[in-house]
């Protein structure tokens, strides 16, 4: 038997393995422990549990009840004890399986002498978490500012000088780490373990969904983060977006009324051109929302009457953020500039919102429970004409338009429809959570149930959210599973708020039954009856979840991958009962030779969306030399969005007063046409799809020199199915740089500047969420075509060159922290948007009259300022204020080609170079002619009667009469803490400048009085020559929806939330903490423009669907 080299190797390898395992065996078990502020006795017990050692001490000499911290991972007993007793005047000896604690210092290596004047010390600074040497940490002698910096291996040497060396205190600091103090005593060797700072001034911020993080101070880009403690989840809202309104600089959350409508968040101004036709099927203007790495889908409209978002048949869009319980959110980061969003390439143009959910925290299993109950009422409601006022106005209209018609005497009825349809609402929320962690497994489960009975009668929302977060962490491998199932049930039969019913009609007949109101259409009918008889319910099941895996290959490299999915299944089910007019349609149908009226409609809209993304990336992090460090990420991402739409509609039922299935809408087959089955002609069944997919490569590289100069580069390549075939690849990238001036030597000793940083970035991003098929030319199928059968004719024009909208972002800013109390930052931004997609007219010689083109450019620019001031940090009273304000200035700079430049007068929009896309276009109104009672308008300095104006000018002569974009907006948050137990928070938001364009339909469109009421303002109309009033004579005035009199200054300040919470001091019961709170949401509005006395103004007209103010009480417990 001979050994070959090969065999020898094998044997050696085997032996080596054996040896190493022996080594492991012979060693004592290592200790992993993380305890904070616990008695030493308890820590000792914990150590004993993890080792075979017994720790012995004399309880009289050792103060075992003093509190200490320990945070070690997989270290030897010796290391653990050294850390535990650091600075504690406790020494230890290890003997066999016993550890003896003494209160004497270990034998000094050199004799201490009281006249020592100099001492040469050395030491090492490690990170507490992974026990790695920490280069670049500063060691300073407290009170002097002098000291040393650790080298590449975390080591330092220094010559202590002074009369009382033993009492000198070494202070070790490192950005992002908690500073640590050690008294010199008589030591020459020092070991420091620095813990990552939980310092609220410099937390670790997640900078992308690809695993990159940075200390707040080291971030190059523009990222604003809110943490759970800053988010008032007690606000009576269904989703997080409404709770953060005004709390993040540069982020405008459009204030919508009602529950569960779509999210409208504008980051640094309007994302894209608004549609001039009011279509909701265009380019997304919303930021990309990513939850724990999962790209959230949004509900968007498609070219289908059932899903376009406009019209009676269409599905009502929902709020995707309702899938996540606000209580389950750990942090929200808003990425705004090119350095921050560059890694998102063609999806990043509108900004990115990263949301992380809460994970299990180290420690014992903790249970949390909260309950909240509140009452809501409608506020700022529009006041309408009373029965008598309406009757007078109507008669005047009839008299003036049909002189021969007889006038109607007032019937004495004065129905307050608003009062009937609005009552007290109830807000109720339960939340229960369990979390905990062992050394390897962490877990957290959250269940919350919210029920909102809106003040609007009949409308309510039930929302059940769960969150499951499981984690496995070993040395190198991390696995994490996150699931957020949700169920949302929105019942909203009361859809009649936008229709002002006549006050002279009684809702009831003399016999108590519901009356008919003489109006028709699905959005009409006796609302009280409809609420009872109709159905409008949307149920959404959702699961948003991800599975991720990461592997630490070495100190420098980590691989990770994540598969995320956002699934939702939504059914909206409506029934319009024939018992009220909303279900009474014209026409008849014949079934079994009986003629019925075509009454009752069932409408089902289903949306089933799956959006998944799979990412894989390598993260690297390397201190190259003492002064140079790099980190970054390289990876890929594939994602697909598949949305299926189905609809069913049936009209005309034999018994239309009860809810019928669509299949009941049957008619007789025509016997003359044997080859066609007409029996289902009253049913419409169809389906649509919207699929798109994307493959991307992304990378980010960060470099820093001495932790002072930071550089960042992003690059991303996106290939997407939605782009035209000729241009399906988007390359985007960004560069950023920052300089932490406060880390420079010349500022090191400054006592009042804690932090000073300047930063800038530049780069390109895109907006690829332009609808799935907009680059493709489409054919529409048409049945019964030429000679019978299916034919197809072209629909929308193809544009092989249609590509993503581009957005070049520039950002520059200063971050400043002073006196340990004030932090603020100022940023300037400019987003140059080009290739904005818009419909342009094209020569019809092409076969088409219009085409989607990348044909517009605009910019948004402005300043953002945010500050946080700790006014008072006394133990008994703390007062902190946050405040932010942002400005935005926007203009269209280029429009290629020609197109319909103006929208309808009701929308009052235009696309014009040199004007913001939010400009309101119309006619400048100067008053009502006291002589004639007609509207007077002005153009080029001339005053015209509106009729004359209309004969002289066209739509092209419209002028800007307002701008719906606020000049500045922001918010504030004040928090007052009394005796650490009582906390009062006051939050609000505001808007300066900006206009609201009200609809003339409820103001002075007198022709509407045939079946609708008008707002009480109409009572102030012209009656007699000499009257100076804002509303013209009651006649068929030219219908001009965009007169400047309908434009109101929208400047407002809102007190959005006041919350008072009290931590009940509890002892000796099973609860760990208990707090009770009172909360008021949507408390008060102040508008700059006051409503005229007794009439409506901006305050009332702002929301047709009334807003709700909610006052609630709640309790929050942990055990």
């Amino acid at each position: 038997m001979t050994f070959t080299i090969h065999d020898l190797r094998k044997i050696l390898f085997f032996l080596a393995l054996l040896l190493s395992s022996f080594k492991g065996f012979s060693q004592n078990k290592n200790i992993t422990l993380q305890l904070k502020n616990k008695p030493i006795s308890l820590i000792i017990k914990a150590i004993e549990e993890q080792t075979e050692f017994r720790i012995i001490y004399n309880a009289r000499k050792i103060d075992a009840e003093q509190l200490a911290d320990i945070n070690v991972q997989n270290v030897t007993l010796e290391t653990a004890l050294t850390q535990l007793f650091a600075g504690k005047n406790i020494s230890f000896y290890i003997q066999k399986k016993q550890v003896l604690l003494t209160n004497a210092a270990p034998a000094p290596t050199t004799a201490t002498s009281s006249d020592e004047k100099e001492r040469f010390i050395s030491g090492t600074v490690y990170t507490a978490k992974d026990k790695q040497p920490l280069p670049g940490a500063t060691i300073r002698i407290k009170g002097t500012g002098m000291g040393a910096i650790t080298d590449f291996n975390g080591k330092f040497v220094y010559q202590l000088k002074g009369n009382d060396i033993n009492n000198l205190v070494l202070e070790v600091g490192f950005l992002g780490m908690e500073p640590q103090l050690q008294k010199a005593d008589d030591k020459k060797q020092f070991v420091f373990y620095l813990k990552e700072a939980t310092d609220e001034l410099n937390p670790v911020v997640i900078t992308s969904s690809y695993g990159t993080t940075k200390l707040k101070e080291e971030i190059v880009g523009s990222i604003s983060t809110l943490y759970a403690k800053d988010i008032a989840v007690e606000q009576a809202s269904e989703s997080i977006d409404k709770m953060i309104t005004g709390q993040i600089a540069g982020v405008m959350v459009e204030n919508t009324s009602g529950v569960g409508g779509p999210v409208k968040i504008n980051i640094r101004g309007q994302g894209t051109l608004p549609s001039l036709s009011g279509a909701k099927t265009g380019t997304s203007s919303q930021p990309l929302i990513i939850i724990d790495g999962v790209i959230m889908g949004e509900e968007y409209g498609i070219d289908s009457a059932y899903f376009s978002g406009n019209g009676d048949f269409t599905e009502n869009f929902g709020n995707p953020l309702m899938k996540i319980a606000p209580e389950n959110i750990e942090s929200i980061s808003v990425l705004k500039d090119a350095a921050a969003v560059g890694i998102y390439g063609a999806d990043g143009a509108n900004g990115v919102i990263l949301i992380t959910t809460k994970k299990g925290k180290k420690g014992k299993t903790q249970f949390g429970f909260s309950n909240q109950l509140g009452i809501s009422s409608a506020i700022n409601q529009i006041k309408y004409l009373s029965g008598e006022q309406y009757n007078e106005l109507r008669n005047e209209f009839v008299k003036n338009t049909t002189p021969s018609a007889a006038l109607t005497p007032y019937n004495g009825i004065n129905t307050d429809w608003f009062g009937l349809l609005n009552q007290s609402g109830i807000f109720n929320k339960y939340n229960f959570n369990v979390s905990g962690s062992t050394s390897k497994i962490s877990y957290r489960t959250n269940i919350s149930y919210t029920k909102i009975d809106e003040p609007q009668m009949g409308n309510n929302t039930k929302q059940l959210n769960a969150g499951i977060n499981l984690g496995y962490n070993s040395d190198k491998l991390n696995i994490s599973l996150v699931l957020n199932p949700s169920y949302i049930e929105k019942t909203a039969p009361n859809i009649f708020y936008s229709f002002a019913y006549l006050p002279t009609l009684s809702p009831y007949n003399p016999d108590g039954s519901y009356s008919l109101l003489g109006v028709s259409g699905m959005m009409r009918g006796n609302p009280l009856a409809a609420i009872e008889q109709n159905k409008n319910q949307a149920k959404t099941y959702g699961i948003l979840g991800s599975l991720s895996l990461s592997y630490q290959l070495s100190n420098a490299i980590k691989f990770s991958t994540l598969f995320g999915m956002d699934y939702s299944d939504k059914d909206q089910d409506r029934y319009f009962s024939a018992e009220n007019e909303s279900g009474q349609f014209p026409g008849t149908f014949v079934l079994d030779n009986t003629t019925y009226r075509r009454w009752g409609r069932r409408l089902l809209n289903q949306r089933n969306a799956t959006k998944w993304n799979w990412q894989g990336q390598a993260l690297f992090n390397k201190q190259l030399t003492e002064n140079h460090a790099i980190d970054g990420v390289v990876g890929f991402e594939i994602s697909e969005d598949k949305t299926n739409f189905d609809y069913q509609s049936g009209i005309g039922f034999v018994n239309p007063n009860v809810i019928n299935p669509v299949s009941n809408a049957l008619i007789d087959d025509n016997p003359l046409t044997t080859d066609v089955d007409e029996s289902k002609n009253n049913q419409t069944i169809g389906s649509e799809i919207s699929y798109n997919s994307r493959v991307s490569l992304f990378s980010q590289l960060n470099y820093n020199y001495k932790k002072r100069y930071y550089l960042l580069a992003n690059f991303r390549r996106d290939q997407s199915s939605v782009f035209g075939d000729d241009t399906d690849v988007a390359n985007n990238g960004g560069l950023g740089a920052s300089w932490i001036i406060s880390n420079e030597d010349f500022l090191n000793n400054n006592s009042w500047i804690n932090f000073l940083k300047i930063k800038t970035s530049y780069g390109t991003t895109g907006n690829s969420r332009i609808g799935s098929y907009r680059s493709k030319g489409l054919y529409n199928y048409i049945q019964n075509n030429y000679n019978g059968g299916t034919g197809a004719t072209p629909g929308s024009a193809p544009n092989g060159k249609l590509s993503w909208e581009k957005n070049t972002k520039f950002n520059a800013g200063i971050d400043f922290n002073i006196f340990n109390r004030v932090e603020f930052s100022v940023e300037y931004y400019r987003d140059d948007k080009s290739d904005l997609i818009t419909t342009r007219n094209i020569p019809t010689e092409t076969g088409y009259s219009s085409m989607l083109l990348n044909a517009a450019s605009m910019y948004n620019q402005g300043f953002e300022f945010q500050t946080r001031i700790k006014w008072i940090t006394n133990n008994n009273f703390k007062w902190t204020t946050s405040f932010n304000i942002s400005t935005v200035d926007s203009k269209v700079t280029d429009l290629k080609g020609l197109g319909s430049e103006f929208s309808t007068a009701e929308l009052a929009l235009a696309q014009k170079i040199g004007y913001s896309t939010t400009t309101v276009w119309g006619i400048k109104w100067v008053g009502v002619d006291p002589a004639t009672g007609r509207d007077l308008v002005t153009k080029n300095g001339q005053v015209y009667d509106l009729n004359t104006y209309k004969s002289l000018f066209t739509i092209a002569d419209w002028e800007p009469i307002g701008d719906t974009q606020a000049k500045a907006y922001g918010g504030f948050n004040n928090s007052f803490t009394f005796y650490n137990n009582l906390v009062l928070s006051v939050r609000g938001d505001f808007q300066l400048g900006g206009d609201f364009f009200a609809s003339d339909a409820i103001i002075d469109k007198y022709s509407n009085t045939s079946n609708r009421n008008l707002s009480v303002n109409a009572a102030n109309h012209w009656r007699n020559p000499g009257d100076i009033v804002p509303y013209p004579a009651v006649t068929l005035v030219p219908v001009t929806a965009n007169l400047s009199k309908y434009v109101y200054d929208a400047t407002y300040v809102r007190l959005s939330n006041v919350n008072l919470s009290y931590n009940v001091p509890i002892k000796n019961i099973f609860l760990d903490t208990l707090s009770v709170f009172a909360d008021a949401t949507n408390v008060l509005y102040w508008y700059k423009e006051k409503s005229p006395k007794g009439m409506n103004g901006i305050r009332e007209f702002s929301y047709t669907y009334p807003q709700a103010r909610t006052i609630s009480l709640g309790v929050n417990a942990k055990f």
Partner: protein, 491 residues
């Protein structure tokens, strides 16, 4: 350590491979819409191309049968007058109707041209034909013969659409000696080739493109239509030649006009309808006259009921009547024995005469009652083309023979001399082809003015040749968008 490194490499390779494979896996990035379909998706197989072709025929039919074009030439030329309003406050009043009001008076306006939809409609047809032409050669599931047939039909349609556009928007071929005056934009590429801002060809070029397309088409036709359905409802070799003959006639290429018309008469297999059948053939519901070389099928709804047809403009029933009737200028042209005089249906209608409602007789045509389709080509026209071409080729005897064939069939007295043959041919065309869209174009190409007497309510009842108003304005919409596009003079 060695292990680590290997693993390391393996990982990189795996990731690199994955990324590479994803990038190359282009299927993942192909996403197609649902009930609508993309051009690429639809035209990838024979079935889809035929669906598009079917849609194309419907567009062609809709564009030429639509009121504007289908009455234009006869209205302008003086064959047509209007019926009074049948109800309402304007009962008995005679108005030109909104779709042709300005055109009727030769006062069309470029901003609001009556024919704007006709202009864009034809270019839509042309784009659809081009799409089919571009995708058909790549079909994998069609035989060469099938592909050639589809190609031939699409080419003929393309030529036809360009030809009818040139009739409306261009002065006649002889307007300048070499036809160097403005023609139309000739599109041979679909929108897929990108957005273009084309300019107008000369009329000479326009005609040569049309002729070229037609010749290619004629060579490609097989004997089987691309789609099932009545033979007369699709373009085929015979009616493509008929179109070509008409184009040569307009071009005054007498030799080729003669040859081509002769070819159809001799070789198409079609025969003129007999005298005895003439009236019955025109009166039969739903079917064209047997000598129709091409009549487009009218649209029908899901219950197989005709939704719109030529009777919308010319029809009369016991309860309703349409807007257009024969002027007495036309009716009076027929000899009493002429069978074609029986093709008028006289109905008394309430008419405001000097402010008093009076019953006045109106002559509706029998050609377009009962769901009639638009007759694009008919064998009679080929005889008349051959006659005109023969005369211009100095063969008046041949010409007279052809005219007499038509006259004999109509029971009219035969011509006995060729003294005034040119006029006789034009007159015969007017009588034979009335309401089929010829009169105005025939007058203009013969450099004649128009004279409208009976029932003319226009401000311009008579016009002399030449007139800048004999062509309509290119819609201002297109002029605005395309600086290369030249407007017709006087607009």
């Amino acid at each position: 350590m060695q292990n680590f490194k290997t693993m390391n490499y393996l990982k990189y390779i795996t990731i690199a491979f994955l990324i590479f494979s994803l990038q190359s896996c282009s299927d993942f990035l192909e996403q197609e819409p649902g009930t609508q379909t993309s051009i690429d998706e639809l035209l990838q197989n024979k079935e889809g191309v035929l669906i598009a072709l079917k849609g194309l025929y419907r567009t062609v039919e809709g564009t030429v049968r639509e009121e504007r074009f289908s009455v234009y030439s006869d209205l302008q030329g003086g064959n047509i007058k209007f019926t009074p309003n049948s109800s309402g406050s304007s009962l008995g009043q005679i108005t030109p109707g909104v779709n042709l009001r300005e055109v009727y008076s030769f006062e069309d306006v470029e901003e609001t041209s009556n024919f704007a939809s006709f202009y864009s409609g034809n270019y839509s047809i042309i784009n659809q034909a081009n799409l089919i032409l571009e995708y058909t050669p790549n079909l994998k599931d069609a035989t060469e013969a099938e592909k050639n047939q589809i190609k031939a039909e699409a080419l003929t349609i393309r030529a036809y659409a360009h030809f009818v556009l040139s009739q409306i928007y261009c002065q006649d071929y002889g307007y300048t000696p070499d036809a160097s005056h403005l023609g139309i934009v000739y599109n041979t590429e679909s929108i897929k080739s990108g957005l273009k801002y084309p300019k107008r060809e000369t009329l000479a070029n326009t005609y040569s493109f049309i002729i070229n397309d037609l010749k290619t088409a004629i060579d490609n036709y097989s004997d089987t239509a691309a789609m099932p359905g009545p033979v007369y409802s699709y373009f085929n070799r015979n009616n493509a030649k008929a179109l070509l003959a008409r184009v040569y006639l307009y071009k005054k290429d007498w030799t080729k006009a003669y040859e081509t018309a002769n070819d159809v008469i001799e070789n198409s297999g079609f025969k003129l309808v007999n005298s005895s059948d003439l009236i019955a053939q025109w009166a039969q519901p739903d079917l064209p006259v047997s000598e129709a070389l091409l009549e487009f099928s009218v649209p029908k709804d899901s219950e197989n009921a005709v939704s719109t047809s030529m009777s919308n403009y010319f029809g009369v029933t016991s309860t309703t009547y349409a807007h257009y009737v024969a002027s007495n200028d036309l009716v009076d042209l027929y000899e009493n024995n002429d069978l074609r005089k029986q093709l008028f249906l006289t109905v008394n209608l309430q008419t405001l005469v000097n402010g008093v409602l009076t019953y006045v007789p109106y002559n509706f045509t029998r050609k377009f009652q009962d769901n009639a389709g638009y007759v694009a080509f008919r064998l009679s026209e080929m005889y008349l083309i051959r006659a005109e071409a023969a005369l211009e080729n100095n063969q008046p005897a041949l010409a007279m023979a052809d005219i007499n064939t038509i006259r004999a069939r109509a029971n009219a007295t035969l011509l006995s001399n060729t003294d005034n043959l040119k006029e006789d041919i034009l007159l015969e065309r007017r009588k034979e082809l009335c309401f089929e869209g010829h009169l105005f174009f025939d007058l203009v190409r013969n450099h004649k003015g128009i004279t409208r007497n009976d029932g003319c309510i226009s401000t311009n009842c008579s016009m002399v040749y030449p007139s800048l108003k004999f062509v309509l304005p290119i819609p201002q919409y297109n002029i605005n968008l395309n600086s290369n596009l030249q407007q017709n003079e006087s607009y």
